[in-house]
Symmetry: D2
Subunit: 343 residues, 4 copies
Amino acid sequence: MDVVEFRPEPEQYAWTFGGVAPTHRITPGTVLRLWTEDAFSGRLQRTSDKPSQVLDMTQVNPQTGPFYVEGAEPGDTLALHIVDLTPARDWGASTTIPFFGALTGTDRTALLNEPLPEQTWIYQLDRARGTVLFEAQRSQLEIELPLAPMLGTVGVAPPGREVRSSLVPDTFGGNMDTPEMRAGTTCFLGVNVEGALFSVGDGHYRQGEGESCGTAVEGAMNVTLIVELIKGGQRSAGGAPINTAPAWPRLEHDDHYAVVGSSRPLEDAWRASQVGMVGWLGELYGLDPLDAYQLLTQVSRSPLANVCDTNYSAVTKIEKALLPGAEAYGGMHRHLRDQARGL
Amino acid sequence: MDVVEFRPEPEQYAWTFGGVAPTHRITPGTVLRLWTEDAFSGRLQRTSDKPSQVLDMTQVNPQTGPFYVEGAEPGDTLALHIVDLTPARDWGASTTIPFFGALTGTDRTALLNEPLPEQTWIYQLDRARGTVLFEAQRSQLEIELPLAPMLGTVGVAPPGREVRSSLVPDTFGGNMDTPEMRAGTTCFLGVNVEGALFSVGDGHYRQGEGESCGTAVEGAMNVTLIVELIKGGQRSAGGAPINTAPAWPRLEHDDHYAVVGSSRPLEDAWRASQVGMVGWLGELYGLDPLDAYQLLTQVSRSPLANVCDTNYSAVTKIEKALLPGAEAYGGMHRHLRDQARGL
Amino acid sequence: MDVVEFRPEPEQYAWTFGGVAPTHRITPGTVLRLWTEDAFSGRLQRTSDKPSQVLDMTQVNPQTGPFYVEGAEPGDTLALHIVDLTPARDWGASTTIPFFGALTGTDRTALLNEPLPEQTWIYQLDRARGTVLFEAQRSQLEIELPLAPMLGTVGVAPPGREVRSSLVPDTFGGNMDTPEMRAGTTCFLGVNVEGALFSVGDGHYRQGEGESCGTAVEGAMNVTLIVELIKGGQRSAGGAPINTAPAWPRLEHDDHYAVVGSSRPLEDAWRASQVGMVGWLGELYGLDPLDAYQLLTQVSRSPLANVCDTNYSAVTKIEKALLPGAEAYGGMHRHLRDQARGL
Amino acid sequence: MDVVEFRPEPEQYAWTFGGVAPTHRITPGTVLRLWTEDAFSGRLQRTSDKPSQVLDMTQVNPQTGPFYVEGAEPGDTLALHIVDLTPARDWGASTTIPFFGALTGTDRTALLNEPLPEQTWIYQLDRARGTVLFEAQRSQLEIELPLAPMLGTVGVAPPGREVRSSLVPDTFGGNMDTPEMRAGTTCFLGVNVEGALFSVGDGHYRQGEGESCGTAVEGAMNVTLIVELIKGGQRSAGGAPINTAPAWPRLEHDDHYAVVGSSRPLEDAWRASQVGMVGWLGELYGLDPLDAYQLLTQVSRSPLANVCDTNYSAVTKIEKALLPGAEAYGGMHRHLRDQARGL
């Protein structure tokens, strides 16, 4: 397996999905060992740092990439398997950014209220204990919370000639901010442009579902990925199209299938993930859509991802143990897990 | 402990929260052994039954109760501990009702599309295996799913002189349709009228988060509850008000705290549950709201409840293992668990 | 024509739709000369009055009524023609109520922001000039605005055994807060219970579309109405059902047809009004729904009503001059205009 | 005054805001005489044309431009005055596109319903009578509707390195689809990139508020514009910043001020326009935000623009006759009206 290592210099960061020349061209099957800067571009370091003073809002959520995948064409499906996520620093940061977050007026939910106070929390990592330390800043409480590394942002170049900020989640993935994007996950994304042009970033050492204040325990991350490509446009023996690129990002864990929808209002984000799962169940089991709707109604797990970004993201998730055995994408996830074990 | 057993006759069903005379007057500490009819009033029995033909939409979601709790006054908090939920029939039913459900146009999301086809699924119970059997109706698949009994509807009379349909979830609880309402749960509800006038119903043998098609595996249920009352208007030694009635329903499990918000759009339902949890964290740990917002951002579990009812319901939930020890409502949940073990 | 005059004493106010005994029984064709108290129950009188100090939130939006209309049955349509609205005081009041209004966090759009400041504005009426005077309180500006009296709240008892606060707009009408409800308007409401049990209140001397701060120029009002009843369950010569009660309130002016939808999110309120108008166009012109959708797309006026109440209200409105002549409800509006001229 | 005439060839159409090289460089004060193709790229011509067969969805809503305005820098405000809009064809077209429109499930409001039928309506123009002819396709009705030309799409390059489809409305303007964008209107847009890079397109011969089926009476248009630039970064004698670029598009007519907000859900689009107008009233009259909120509450007109596009657009509008005299942007609109008269 080809292995590519890459730690971008600040001038190499990508700030968008689409619209950026690739940093690398890679072939399917390549292992990537990457470093990603945190969403604050490393500028928020102390509890006395105020976002309005230290952040440059034109330089938030830097991405590592994009990577051009040889042979990837519109209609194909990119499979990104997250082998490992290891914090690259011994601290993470979170903060309240004026007019940003789920429980405050924002530029979109435009109100006349003053912004919430700016407050920054720094979380110290204890690698031995596998924890980050929450320290209350305006009252008294310290809590060790389990480290739970995830990637907030994984995406390909969007369709329709668009270039989107790395802060945006949509059909192309992007800033979905779901704790489901963790080591052991395979992420399936429809390819929109030649080469797919995917990038990753926005490591979180830990995040709750919904990311209510708008920022997780943000931290630089060492990321190991395996990249695979599933060609589209194929047909089964019976002539039915197979390996159709999914309309919304799909995730596969050892124990769950998941679909992520991103839109507003939140019910629409969730509906997209539900209709996506109805489709996936149809592909896996030949289920009629109404039967899939019924089954989903009784087995869906619906953990929110983010309710603070440009689009909100919601997850529909099904435990594999509830379902008959199946091989999504010809067993791609299992194959990638095997590959990962060999690294 | 007083024990009251009650299996209502059809003419005794309550169809609303508020506006109904109590069937019983009980004292705090009473154990209730109840039977609840299913949400279809038992009329949907065969896969050939079409909702538009067999249901009477003025008689859906019958409630058992209401119960008048002696001494309960506005400002108090009612604690309902679910000791046991046991299916009262050997089958449950689910169906697609025209213009109802999350993935179809409805009376509220009014569209010009034709309704989805009416289709009914009957789930056979296997008590020995602890399962219900999903049988696809329009394609081929059978799956045994674990039985996971819950109550869709638990509520008190609403404030402001209102009488609400038993199909509605709101601040008074009601038709929240969350799988979190299961045996072992204590539900805390603010009391709005003298006697609280709570009722329960809408047993589900199993339900996914979001209840997308609008109906769970609906079934009659044997319900064992313990009822307690927490008087409001008290003050701590320092003079701070304690035991303030919660704005939104709170749930306590052995291992989680949860708050349920119900509104539209879905982000507002979730915001209500989040702000409710910020308040609860403040009560439990003396946390400043901004510190609670931050902590919540990193630890919240956010499973959806329903995205199909008059109001949508969303849950904010925190694992107790992540938090320092605390005694919500003076340890009421633990006390009720002890009581339940003695039954 | 029977004429009933009624100025309720405070203990006669109704605070809900449904759940209240009628103050009067009237026959179709009756003229009502009513007095309505303002939404603050007259308690907000000076710019120094703060809502949190002077208002009793259990006594806001008092209604005059309900009136029991002899012969009205579910399935019928009530026609309320507003003959005249004349301010009953020489001043009106508006204010910012904490956690209420469109541009602030509320109990539903629950946020962590502090409430906006409480500020009260008193508008002096100049009857000769037909104006109310806006006087800025925190800066310098006075503007005479044209008097434009309307009724914020017109509704019947709701269906489904419900009792709803007079603050709520829904299918039964209620607190729609639309400037379209003015002298010269006929309001058509589906009857849900025997006698219809309608009431009116919440006079506004003037209001912008959306009622953003949550309160219009609120003032006591002298209201003249004519009440008519359109029996349902009738069939045309061809057997088609006619005079079906409308799902949502319909308004007819001399120059416009309008439908009011009330829901959340706001797009759903508007969709309800649009689908309602597609139906009305079908009734008036025998238009296929898709043709009506197309026509509506090119002729709809869509002025918002309120974006602050329990449900938001949106209006779909079509200029009659754009349409062929037609007689809605057998010319009821024209008939009532004629009657009104005779008073 | 410089006059530039331009009728783009199909290969010169722009399909995005941002990401396209300018077709022309112009100086402030230039008059543009442009031709714009219709949103279907002219491919929908007969009532038998089905969108799924004749449209290329990668080539819809072609824009004329972009134009690079010499001297325009981020922070400046572009003023586009629409002098004249004259239909360039003798017919316009409207249609129902599968999974697009306000009263159907869409890719965002993802449902399981089948799409509505595809149906196309062709409107013949009668220039002498100033009308377009609605002809029902599935039932019997013909109506002459007044011609009311407008531009659906007017925008500049977006901020934050983004490139957006010409189907999108947002802070940069774009596909707002408001009937307020007509001859006689001055549109003020904040400049995000050097040269502003604005383009226009999507002529509508007529459109209702909300554009419910998703397509207006779409037609090629002859467009006359005058382009002006208002430099930002200036300060009044007292040191206050003036001519700040507006957060959302502002429109000025002879008789109204208007602000357009675009977001989802619809209440957020409207809130953006309301907060935008609170700000504009503050600039025009030195009003405190709370006073402006109050005044707006009583005078706002709130006509919806579109409830079908990627973002919904809502308008807040105030009649100038209600307000004291004022000169927005130093009387720019009046100046442009004068210029237009001289053409």
